[in-house]
């Protein structure tokens, strides 16, 4: 399977100067992931675990106080490998929307409120295409919208006239208009209602099946991952602690944190007592030594407190970052 986007021991931290003393928030700490062609890669984790920062770094949207300290993000496009952070990250502009595009959180004000929706489409197209091909590119966009089941009058409407769900589907249509190879979606359905969320996820799945591209989706809602993702990575305190196919993650979670996360989810099967992980998630600026889950982990060993476990593949594409696996 061909790799599209890859990170090699990527470290991107927030360096904050809070009234004199420097505070570094280790949002993405030595992450190595490989995102393949024609798959939906889910990134799960609680708020404040660094998953949105990882997404921003993947997309090249890095502005102070966020800085890439070490490692790199590699786009595999047309047989060549480009490290987008090689020379100051200005390389990213030519990849945007053609190779990789972005779906924002379903917030209210994603589209420019004072212009019609079709103006936003024109702006996005104009900046990437030569002038003469703009007209027919715009027609493709109109046709494209119709395929995605959006009514025609959406283009002539203003964003305040559309409902939350409709606005999010326009944003998704916008992200696929230049048929990029990878679409990055940051919590695309969090701000939506249950039924609208189902409609939006259904749309994302249709797009992936139709264009055989790749969608990287970040959300804290494990149910959404179960429904849409082919592979899932669990993130905790800035590191990937487990990565495998969706069935394995939900069926046989190996990492203690993943196990807590999956078991604590209520389901309609039964109403037995569920317990959540003890203690509180650590703050990313004062990480515990060794494995950052060790203060809350019941299977804690001497080794966990000192050495940081590496994400290792323990057979048929199921990698875990935990010293327990070494014992097995």
């Amino acid at each position: 399977m061909e790799v599209l986007v890859e990170t090699r021991n990527l470290k991107s931290y927030y360096v904050l100067n809070v009234f004199g003393n420097i505070k570094t928030v280790k949002a993405v700490d030595d992450v190595n992931i490989r995102i393949m062609k024609d798959e939906i890669y889910g990134i799960a984790g609680e708020s404040g675990c660094g998953k949105s920062t990882l997404l921003k770094t993947l997309f090249g949207d890095v502005e102070p106080p966020l800085r890439v300290i070490d490692g790199g993000v590699f786009y595999h496009d047309g047989g060549k490998e480009h490290n987008i952070y090689e020379d100051g990250g200005h390389l990213t502009r030519q990849f945007r929307w053609k190779f990789i595009s972005y779906v924002p959180q379903g917030s209210m004000s994603v589209l420019n409120p004072v212009v019609k929706v079709k103006e936003v489409f024109k702006d996005f197209l104009d900046s990437h295409l030569k002038s003469e091909s703009k007209k027919e590119a715009f027609d493709i966009a109109v046709q494209h919208l119709r395929e995605l089941g959006l009514p025609d009058n959406v283009l002539n409407a203003y964003s305040h006239q559309l409902s939350g769900g409709m606005r999010q589907r326009v944003a998704i249509a916008l992200s696929t208009v230049l048929s990029p190879k990878v679409i990055i979606a940051d919590e695309p359905t969090t701000a939506l209602d249950v039924v609208t969320q189902r409609g939006v996820i259904q749309l994302l799945k249709d797009i992936q099946e139709k264009y055989k591209n790749t969608i990287v989706i970040v959300t804290h809602d494990m149910g959404v991952h179960a429904n849409i993702a082919t592979r899932v990575a669990i993130m905790y305190a800035g590191k990937i602690v487990e990565e495998s196919s969706t069935e394995k993650i939900f069926g046989e979670p190996q990492h203690p944190y993943t196990r807590y996360l999956i078991n604590s989810l209520p389901s309609f099967e039964n109403r037995e007592k569920r317990t959540s992980a003890p203690g509180n998630p650590p703050s990313l600026s004062e990480l515990p030594s060794g494995c950052s889950f060790h203060p809350r982990c019941p299977y804690r060993m001497k080794r966990c407190e000192s050495e940081v476990p590496l994400l290792k593949d323990y057979g048929d594409d199921h990698s875990v970052a935990c010293w327990l696996m070494e014992e097995k």
């Binding site: 997309f59 949207d61 502009r93 945007r96 929307w97 595009s101 972005y102 924002p104 917030s107 004000s109 994603v110 589209l111 420019n112 409120p113 004072v114 212009v115 019609k116 103006e119 936003v120 702006d123 996005f124 104009d126 900046s127 990437h128 203003y158 305040h160 006239q161 944003a171 916008l174």
Partner: protein, 335 residues
């Protein structure tokens, strides 16, 4: 159609109500105060040495009361004040006696409106564009200097700045006339030459209004733009690779302009007062100088006339600006 009902009608109602309150205030203030204008004029006349026997003073008081519209009960005075206001008649000016107040005002109004209109629009546009780009590209050197100047000039009241400009450009480096609106004796024709002199005279007052206007709007827009810059749709356009200039103009400034339009409407009252004072420093033949003379000579009717007309001008222009707003903001046009 519901746009008229929802947006237009409430604006019109507030316009009439504010106008009504303004005029009522102008009407009642002199009457609330203990000093009686008739008494004061009589004492001034007597101070000039003219001996008046009691019955002559009686008749004079009588005619003055009529001139001042102080006849009958307060309510009657109020009603016929409005009747005369609608006809545009404020009675004769006491200082330049027979000429009615209205003609005096009509002579100087075009000067003020001309000066005010140009400087307000120019400073609003310039201030917005500069502020917009300063807010968006905030770290470039050029805008740091502009920030420094705006911190110096913005807090200054109109009078002080006009005085400084007068000292510097008319006294130390006398390139501009010390005052007035046109050289004495020349009449205003539309020939190029007379227009040039007009501009020469009007330059300093316009400059002082322009400076304060540009820097006030510069700072206001910069603040608004910095908050608009962190909005989701701007971030989204940046992520989409839209060119920075297009984002600055079409996304940032266009959205930052909306609060500035209401800002313009709210500050017109202040800009008008500022213009009056600036005219006084340069004895520019507009309403300001007329007002100064009216106060100096205690010309009661002229004072009332100027106040009512200025309230009319200000409230009407605010209505106009309010009505422009929907053109810029579709959220108000379509529900």
């Amino acid at each position: 159609m519901n746009f008229v009902k929802k947006y237009l009608l409430p604006r019109l109602i507030t316009y009439f109500l504010v106008f009504f309150i303004g005029i009522t205030m102008v009407f009642f203030i002199p009457r609330l105060l203990p000093t009686d204008p008739v008494q004061r004029t009589v004492t001034r006349v007597r101070a000039m040495g003219a001996y008046l026997d009691p019955e002559a003073t009686e008749k004079m008081m009588e005619s003055l009361e009529d001139l001042y519209g102080l006849k009958g009960s307060v309510w009657e005075q109020y009603v016929n004040f409005w009747k005369r206001f609608v006809k545009g008649d404020f009675g004769p000016s006491l200082f330049q006696f027979p000429t009615p107040v209205t003609t005096l005002i009509m002579q100087s109004l075009p000067w003020t409106v001309g000066l005010l209109l140009t400087t307000t629009i120019l400073s609003w546009l310039l201030g917005n564009i500069l502020g917009g780009f300063a807010g968006y590209f905030s770290n470039s050197r050029g805008f740091k200097i502009l920030d420094f100047f705006s911190m110096i000039i913005r807090p200054m009241p109109y009078y002080i700045l006009s005085l400084i400009l007068l000292i510097v450009f008319a006294y130390l480096i006398p390139i501009f006339p010390l005052g007035g609106g046109f050289s004495i004796g020349s009449e205003i024709t539309f020939s190029l030459e007379s227009i040039l002199t007009l501009l020469k005279y009007a330059f300093l007052p316009a400059l002082s209004l322009l400076l304060i206007g540009v820097f006030t709007w510069y700072q206001a827009t910069k603040l608004v733009v910095q908050s608009v810059k962190s909005e989701d749709y701007v971030k989204y356009a940046e992520l989409g690779g839209v060119k920075p200039q297009k984002i600055a103009m079409k996304y940032v400034i266009r959205n930052a302009m909306l609060p500035q339009i209401t800002g313009l409407a709210l500050s017109l009252g202040q800009i008008f007062s500022g213009a009056l004072i600036t005219e006084m420093v340069f004895t520019y033949p507009g309403l300001g100088t007329l007002l100064y003379n009216a106060i100096f000579t205690g010309d009661y009717n002229l004072l009332m006339g100027i106040s009512s007309i200025s309230i009319f001008v200000v409230t009407t222009s605010i209505l106009v600006v309010d009505l422009l707003y929907p053109l810029f903001d579709p959220r108000v046009r379509y529900k």
